[in-house]
């Protein structure tokens, strides 16, 4: 009780110190570093650039500042010998607790002020995709919680050592570990959480959950360590061990510290976000299991119930098998490692054994089944999905929320590993029950339809497929059906992005690109049916496609990207550029291993964009905003000091070198290569000849072992040499 009475007084004293206010001011300003210097979130979404990075920078800088303030404040009473008076009135333990609470409150105040100051700035920078929930959670988790961690660490260091110099060294080492050695371990980087991207158009709860778990785990660990250091506060003129010996006589003190350490250790070991898949990525154990002898797959019916509040999934899958062997057999399933599973046959429970082996984000389960000729196996499964451990530094997948989810294969339903398909492959009916605002979009040729609407506002969607697994996207999407290229393009994008998409003339751009590219290069290999779904996906670092569906990475459609004049004169043209990547980049893939080469998917994409724009707006427009700009960029490039004297580039600090190298590489890809292709066009006889060459290249027979379109392939197709395309 006395501690509670002392707290406001100690806080008042702390807030009368000029140093405290200096630290608060610097902490409030520190998010600016995330706009300029410190940019760990490397995705190009608006929230990554203008929310995640400032908040992360604020966390690192604020954490370090508050740690130093903590050491200074704890040492101050001792240095000024004020402790001689205070210790005679209350125990040093009570004072330590009060000082800790006061410092924590000052940290809360600094975080709150930072959030207030940066709110209008963030809203202005982020624009239409700003949301209060993302803002508050990002600042609280990325920045706010770094401060108490640093205060606890610094406080513990001081209470152990009773020396400012040693405490500062220990703190520097601890922070240094987080920023270097532990930077790629999502559970250890206590100061700078692994945040690579935030989604603009969809939710970020999975990311927030992982960061919160890490922060709270460390909060427990450091509170426990602080608790141990609290026992070492020097008393009665004794040293560290003597004081410890006296303090532990009150058993509740070490008991609390120990309980915190045990709880946080358990939280560390039992984290629910990442699996323990075999780190050997070449391992194919699950895919090389022997097929069950004489057993074939008949059909499968699945009901999936995503819990969009908890980010979890529950489901029920009924499998029917034909067994002609007359023997008992074992069905093997790959299940999301975060799920639990129970099995029954004909209403009777049968043992489902989790083997303990995990590979490729699947836990191997085995279920012994009877020798019956036809077996109906029911699996009840569910839980909080675990992500593949190899993607622990690119957090955020799988996101499950009220406006977005993506359930892939073993996350959608147990993935059957050892049963041969029947005559119709793996006929499957999937029913998924979703909040009313969400559209279900099977990734592929299947079409989902609503089969039931429930009183709680949810709707059940049903679709059929016949593949082994399956991918389901669902979200608060806007759907636009566009007739182009002789097919219907189902264009799905997040409702939050609607204003940006409409401003960029997205539907017109889709039509123009699909018409042009289909006519000139051919239909997309994954769009051979009557429809092609173009689905804007949550930021994922890239896209992919299957028959009937292709992803558009949301990173490519941010306001910042659409305003990038290097890709197009106006946002609509950047949109065209990004869609052309469906042909050059996804339909045909490019290997970009050689950083110094101008060859990449960008060259042909920029060239094709120029050709489309030329067709849409005329030759003069295309000449002015494309060809002339390329020439200017390339002229500047060859005048660049570091291009003429590359040996000096090597001498620069790494960050600066990478920055300059990246900028030069951009010119090579976005300006030099399109100019070379334009030169090739002239050398091969004009646009029609080049179109034919590109058509042939696009439709060439691809080597599955190396499915990339190389520069040499292009040169060979043009019957030209590299030297002939030299721009000098």
């Amino acid at each position: 009780m006395k501690t509670l009475r002392l707290f406001p007084l100690e806080l008042g004293r702390l807030l009368r110190s000029r140093l405290t206010w200096l630290v608060v001011l610097l902490t409030v300003l520190s998010p600016a570093a995330g706009l300029i210097l410190y940019k760990p979130a490397y995705a190009d979404t608006m929230l990554s650039m203008y929310l995640a990075n400032p908040a992360l920078a604020g966390g690192v800088a604020g954490g370090i500042l508050f740690a130093l303030l903590t050491i200074f404040e704890l040492d101050r009473a001792r240095r000024s010998r004020t402790d001689m008076l205070t210790d005679a009135a209350v125990s040093p333990h009570a004072m330590a607790l009060v000082r800790l609470l006061a410092l924590l409150t000052a940290a809360v105040l600094a975080t709150g002020l930072a959030m207030l100051v940066w709110l209008p700035i963030s809203m202005g920078l982020i624009g239409a995709v700003f949301t209060g929930v993302d803002y508050v959670l990002a600042y609280l988790l990325f920045m706010g919680l770094a401060l108490p961690l640093a205060i606890l660490a610094a406080g513990a260091a001081y209470q152990f050592t009773q020396r400012t110099d040693l405490s500062a060294v220990l703190l520097a080492a601890f922070a240094g570990l987080s920023l270097t050695v532990w930077a790629d371990d999502w559970q250890l980087c206590w100061l700078n959480p692994c945040v690579w991207a935030m989604s603009d158009d969809f939710t970020n709860f999975r990311l927030f959950r992982t960061v919160a778990w890490m922060r709270l785990t460390w909060l427990g660990i450091l509170a426990g360590v602080w608790g141990v250091s609290y026992l070492c506060i020097r008393r009665y003129g004794k040293g560290l061990l003597g004081s410890l010996g006296r303090s532990v006589r009150r058993v509740w003190r070490p008991a609390i510290a120990l309980a915190l350490l045990v709880c946080s250790g358990t939280a560390y070991a039992a984290q629910p976000f990442y699996d323990n898949s075999n780190p050997d990525l070449t391992a194919m154990t699950l895919y090389e299991l022997d097929y069950a002898e004489g057993v074939t797959f008949l059909d499968r019916t699945v009901q999936v119930f995503p819990d969009t509040e908890a980010g979890a999934v529950e489901g029920r899958a009924v499998y029917r098998f034909q067994n002609t062997s007359g023997k008992e057999w074992t069905a093997c399933f790959g299940v999301d490692p975060g799920y639990d599973l129970t099995a029954s046959v004909g209403g009777e429970a049968v043992p489902a054994v989790r083997t303990g082996y995990e590979e490729s984000n699947m836990a191997l389960w085995e279920i012994a089944l009877p020798a019956d000729g036809e077996v109906e196996l029911t699996l009840e499964y569910g839980g909080f999905p675990k992500d593949w451990n190899l993607s622990s530094t690119v957090q955020g997948d799988p996101e499950i929320s009220g406006i977005y989810l993506c359930l892939e294969n073993q996350r959608l339903f147990p993935y059957l590993l050892n049963v041969l398909p029947g005559d119709e492959d793996y006929p499957t009916t999937v029913e998924v029950t979703l909040p009313g605002a969400m559209l279900a979009i099977p990734f592929g040729t299947s079409e989902a339809e609503v089969v039931a609407e429930h009183r709680d506002g949810t709707r059940t969607w049903r679709y059929a497929s016949n593949s082994t697994g399956g991918i389901l996207y669902a979200g608060d999407y806007v759907r636009q059906d566009i007739q182009a290229g002789g097919m219907t393009i189902e264009f799905y994008y997040g409702r939050k992005h609607q204003a940006v998409m409409e401003a960029a003339g997205a539907a017109d751009a889709v039509r123009a690109v699909v018409d042009y590219c289909t006519e000139h290069y051919g239909a997309l290999s994954f769009g051979t049916g009557d429809t092609l779904k173009l689905i804007q996906s949550r930021v994922a670092g890239g896209g992919y496609a299957v028959d009937g569906a292709s992803l558009l990475n949301e990173e490519d459609f941010t306001t910042a990207n659409l305003d990038d004049t290097g890709k197009g004169a106006i946002p609509g043209e950047v949109f065209i550029h990004e869609l052309v990547h469906q042909w050059w980049g996804l339909g045909n893939m490019f290997d970009t291993a050689d950083e110094t080469s101008p060859w990449s998917s960008e060259g042909l994409t920029v060239y094709t964009t120029y050709r489309i724009v030329k067709e849409l707006y005329g030759e003069d427009y295309a000449q002015k905003y494309y060809v002339d700009q390329w020439r200017q960029e390339v002229d500047d490039y060859f005048l660049n000091f570091y291009v003429r004297r590359p040996e000096y580039l090597e001498k620069l600090p790494e960050a600066e070198r990478l920055n300059i190298a990246g900028s030069l590489s951009g010119v090579r890809h976005y300006s030099e290569m399109p100019l070379k292709i334009l030169k090739a066009e002239q050398l091969v006889g004009g646009e029609a000849a080049m179109d034919q060459i590109l058509h042939d290249l696009f439709n060439r027979e691809v080597d599955p072992a190396y499915p990339y379109l190389t520069y040499q392939d292009f040169l060979d197709a043009c019957h030209l040499t590299e030297e002939e395309l030299d721009l000098g």
């Binding site: 008042g12 004293r13 009368r16 001689m84 005679a88 004794k238």
Partner: protein, 289 residues
């Protein structure tokens, strides 16, 4: 308030033995003067009494309760001014006293704060930042915080250091008034400070109590051991400890203490300072033997 020190010894981790088997009883109301040369163990004893240190042997009882079990209760009734202390410079005098009042658990402390500010003559500096105060004013803030809350047990370690003569007299009287219904322990090396106000004296040296009793008893113990003589008449007797030399028109007049006064010394009425020096001198001689 009753403090009982029973067979208390204190040895520091570096091996230095600061107190040896001390036995002492202190009862309120009383103003106890604690005298002794540097290194006698006075500060160590006071740190033990405020639980800044724990004895390596023996027990200290506060109102019959072992101090290690009654530490919190003792602190609630304690006012302590250490010899070497600091203040929070960024606070004003009133804010600092408000802070200390909260540490002591005082509720509604404004009247008590005004009272102690008046008692230490700091009314004009009540709103001044502590960083602007002189050394003597800081010392008075220290005394004020000890007086806060009307504690039953007051411990002052060299409280008059840095004060001018007028202030010293003022505070001597203040301590005397405070001791009318409380236990006040006053450690000093200035005999004048204790001579006029203390009703009990404790003299320490080398970690031991040499004397505990009234000032009159201490003076009485030196009767017949104090003498005066002209320096020119003095011989080279061993055991004669000169306590004062005064230049006069007739030569240098010396005052000395000794077990046995030489023939040329005229016996003189001992003062408290003579008695204290005789006791220390005697103890040093015994220790040397």
């Amino acid at each position: 308030m009753e403090i009982a020190i029973e067979n208390v010894s204190m040895t520091y981790p570096n091996g230095k033995q600061a107190l040896r088997e001390l036995d002492l009883e202190l009862k309120s109301p009383s103003l106890v003067g604690l005298l002794g040369p540097n290194g006698a163990g006075k500060s160590t004893l006071m740190k033990l009494l405020v639980s800044a240190l724990a004895p390596t042997a023996g027990t200290i009882l506060a109102d019959g309760q072992p101090l290690e079990k009654a530490e919190r209760q003792l602190k609630a009734r304690l006012g302590y001014l250490p010899q070497d202390f600091g203040l929070f410079d960024e606070l004003t005098v009133t804010q600092f006293l408000d802070y200390m009042a909260a540490l002591k658990g005082l509720r509604g402390p404004q009247a008590a704060i005004r009272e102690v500010i008046r008692a230490v003559n700091l009314e004009e500096k009540a709103r001044a930042r502590i960083r602007t105060l002189s050394g003597g004013q800081r010392q008075r803030v220290g005394i004020a915080q000890a007086l806060l809350g009307d504690p039953a047990f007051l411990i002052f370690d060299e409280p008059t250091v840095g004060l001018d003569p007028e202030e010293r007299i003022h505070f001597r009287n203040l301590f005397s008034r405070a001791a009318q219904d409380r236990l006040v322990l006053l450690s000093t090396h200035i005999i004048e400070d204790v001579q006029s106000v203390c009703d009990q004296l404790v003299v320490m040296d080398h970690g031991q109590i040499l004397f505990a009793g009234t000032p009159e008893a201490l003076i009485q113990s030196a009767a017949g051991h104090v003498g005066v003589f002209w320096e020119r008449e003095a011989g080279q007797e061993a055991g004669l400890h000169i306590t004062a030399r005064v230049n006069t028109g007739r030569g240098v007049r010396c005052r000395a203490v000794a077990d046995t006064l030489p023939a040329y010394a005229q016996p003189s009425e001992p003062s408290l300072e003579d008695a204290y020096l005789y006791l220390i001198h005697l103890h040093s001689k015994e220790a040397a033997l």
